[in-house]
């Protein structure tokens, strides 16, 4: 090996080592990559929280929250009112899902959700693999893809080997889902591999095989079948009979051992929306402008209060980002990646008194618009935005209202 070849080999090795060790783990589930229009106008998530942020293998974690399918759902995106499925965004089966409910209805199967209605969800998980996970609730929508909810970090400790997961069949038999049926399947597969290798091995006994047989087959031409011997035919017959017997034997063995089986189950369930008291707030979005240099969203609203208590805007949430009016609401981020700006909502116009209809202006100013790649909303095909406004009365009761409408970007000033 000359000097250049050695040098080249060393450089190659260094590159491999550097690339390998410079790789950093990634945790996100692509929420930033999703088009802002999708994030703002599909599913509004709020009150998402975990029962615990730290647990051990085999312990239970409950994910709770609320979602509202947007009334402003884009026409070019398949609707959540057709087929959707409440899911969990975690890396692989680091948890097992023991239960999943929307408005109390088990959502083992797919469902559909009405736009503008409110749904409370609760997912019960059991920790399976130690690690630190950014856990998101997700709603998968048929033909549209996943609509990702806010992520919360959770840390799982303990011994993965101690994980247990069993179920009881309708016959009262308890099965370990981690191992059930594997040894049986592996044994049957091994039997078939052995039979295949016997057939392969029969031909290997004739080595040298390739070149001599190619020469002979080429030489014999139309009469190449003469190369097949009586012993070959006998061997093929035996293997064929054994194959058919093994298929039949396996089938009868299985029907004898598991006499009652059910086909795979599927279907769709109905999930009724949450029954809500009529809201005292009526809001119209009159104007929305996003000033790109200032990362500032300015929204003009007309608000009517038909309730008995003055109402103030405490929060604006859109595309998974939360902008809090600290004069009304105190919020502590759940962790370092919680997408909440605790003092980023400014309201001009003050509170709305009972029976009053007035115009207010809301400013949501924060670098999150930029860092969470929401500024590409200006590239949306229909330039419509949406979000949830949370009004609070004097008693602290909350009234969520969705607002939506066209948005004009401001490129300077």
């Amino acid at each position: 090996m000359n000097l250049f070849a050695k040098l080249f080999a060393v450089i190659q090795g260094l590159i491999v080592v550097l690339v390998t060790f410079s790789a950093t783990p990634t945790y996100a589930h692509g929420e930033k990559a999703q088009q802002p229009a999708l994030r703002m106008r599909t599913v509004h998530w709020f009150d998402v929280d975990l029962s615990t942020r730290k647990l051990d293998v085999n312990q239970i974690l409950v994910v709770k929250g609320t979602f509202v399918p947007s009334l402003s759902w884009p026409e070019h995106v398949a609707s959540i009112e057709d087929t959707a499925y409440l899911n969990v965004g975690v890396p692989g089966p680091s948890f097992v899902r023991l239960d999943s409910r929307v408005n109390g209805v088990p959502t083992i199967r797919s469902s559909s959700y009405k736009r503008g209605e409110q749904y409370n969800f609760e997912i019960t998980l059991k920790a399976r693999t130690p690690g630190r996970y950014h856990l998101h609730p997700i709603i998968n929508v048929l033909d549209a893809g996943p609509m990702i909810g806010p992520g919360i970090w959770v840390e799982v400790g303990g011994d993965p080997a101690a994980f247990e997961n069993s179920i009881k069949t309708l016959f009262g038999q308890t099965l370990d889902l981690e191992t059930h049926g594997f040894a049986n399947a592996a044994s049957w597969s091994a039997v078939w591999v052995v039979l295949g290798l016997v057939w392969f091995g029969y031909w290997l006994t004739k080595v040298p095989l390739i070149l001599p047989r190619f020469r002979r087959a080429s030489a014999l031409g139309e009469n190449a079948d003469d190369m097949i011997t009586t012993r070959d035919r006998q061997a093929a017959l035996v293997i064929l009979v054994v194959t058919l017997m093994l298929i039949a034997g396996g089938f009868f063995y299985a029907t004898e051992r598991w006499p009652v089986t059910t086909p795979l189950q599927t279907g769709k369930i109905k999930t009724p929306p949450l029954k809500m008291a009529p809201s005292p707030v009526l809001v119209t979005m009159d104007d929305a402008r996003y000033r790109i240099p200032g990362r500032s969203f300015r929204i003009e609203l007309t608000v009517s209060n038909s309730g008995k208590s003055p109402l103030s805007v405490g929060e604006f949430a859109s595309g998974g980002l939360r902008f809090i009016n600290s004069a009304v609401l105190k919020v502590t981020p759940k962790d370092q990646d919680d997408l909440v700006a605790t003092d980023a909502l400014r309201v001009e116009g003050g509170s709305i008194n009972p029976g009053e209809t007035k115009k207010i202006v809301v400013y949501a100013d924060d670098a999150m618009w930029e860092t969470q790649r929401m500024t590409t909303m200006i590239a949306s095909p229909d330039a419509v935005v949406a979000g949830m406004l949370f009004f609070f009365d004097a008693q602290g009761r909350r009234y969520p209202v969705e607002i939506s409408g066209p948005m004009i970007p401001l490129f300077g000033g």
Partner: protein, 250 residues
């Protein structure tokens, strides 16, 4: 006057036989790996999730789609092996390759890397299909009859061939007031973020004639289609062996 082959011209008969054998020991393992890799790729593209997950192997589509796809390489390579070498091994060898790569892939990718339990992602067994095709070909020495008999049996018997593997997962279970199979429960419990429940294609379509006989009807239908599939791919194989470059290489 007999013409000496290059090997005979260069070596003594014993040495020539040894060279021929050495060619076998190099080429055959390489060929098994090649077939396995190509087959695994092709199978992943055309069958994919249907065979990855235990809760996808339904009575309707899995036994219909799988044999149609499964006979592609056995048809092509089976024809080539038969025509060029008169060895009825193409189907078995390619499916052994698929089986080995399948197990390696499920273990390394699905179990070790992604963390799914092996029983949820275990490969089906198809070697019987290869044996049916190869043995029938040798006994009939005809691709026409191999298609008729082995093609039909491959479609017909794929489900019973795998029933010993699948049956333990089709035992009924009640979960939160819903009837499910063990496989359904696994699909629900072991979270697949990118695979919502509705993605599975479970018994969609209208093949429900003759009362309750979903599986037998599907199996017979799959049998007929597999005849055509095997013939077609054997024909593709016949085009392949005519390739001038191939003959020059060999």
């Amino acid at each position: 006057m007999s013409v000496l082959t290059p090997a005979e011209a260069a070596f003594s008969p014993q040495e020539a036989a040894r060279v021929d054998a050495q060619v076998d020991w190099v080429v055959i393992p390489l060929f098994v790996v090649l077939l396995g890799s190509v087959f695994a790729f092709q199978f992943a593209l055309l069958v994919g999730d249907w065979d990855y997950w235990i809760d996808w192997r339904d009575r309707r589509y899995w036994p219909l789609v799988t044999p149609l796809v499964l006979v592609i390489l056995p048809g092509v390579f089976g024809y080539a092996f038969w025509k060029l070498l008169r060895i009825p091994l193409g189907a078995t060898l390619s499916i052994i390759g698929l089986t080995l790569t399948g197990w390696v892939s499920r273990y390394l990718n699905f179990h070790e890397f992604a963390g799914f339990p092996m029983n949820m992602v275990l490969p089906s067994t198809f070697i019987g299909v290869g044996l049916l095709i190869d043995c029938t070909l040798l006994l009939t020495r005809s691709w026409f009859f191999t298609g008729i008999f082995a093609g039909f049996l491959s479609g017909l018997l794929l489900y019973p061939m795998n029933w010993p593997l699948l049956a333990p997962f089709m035992v009924p279970v009640e979960m939160h007031g819903t009837l499910m199979t063990v496989a359904d429960v696994m699909g629900f419990e072991y979270i697949r973020t990118a695979m919502p429940e509705y993605v599975r294609i479970i018994e969609q379509s209208t093949l429900r004639t003759f009362g309750d006989a979903v599986t037998p009807l599907t199996a017979v239908f799959a049998g007929f289609l597999t005849i055509l599939s095997l013939w077609f791919w054997a024909w593709v194989g016949s085009l392949g062996v005519k390739a001038v470059w191939l003959r020059k290489v060999v």
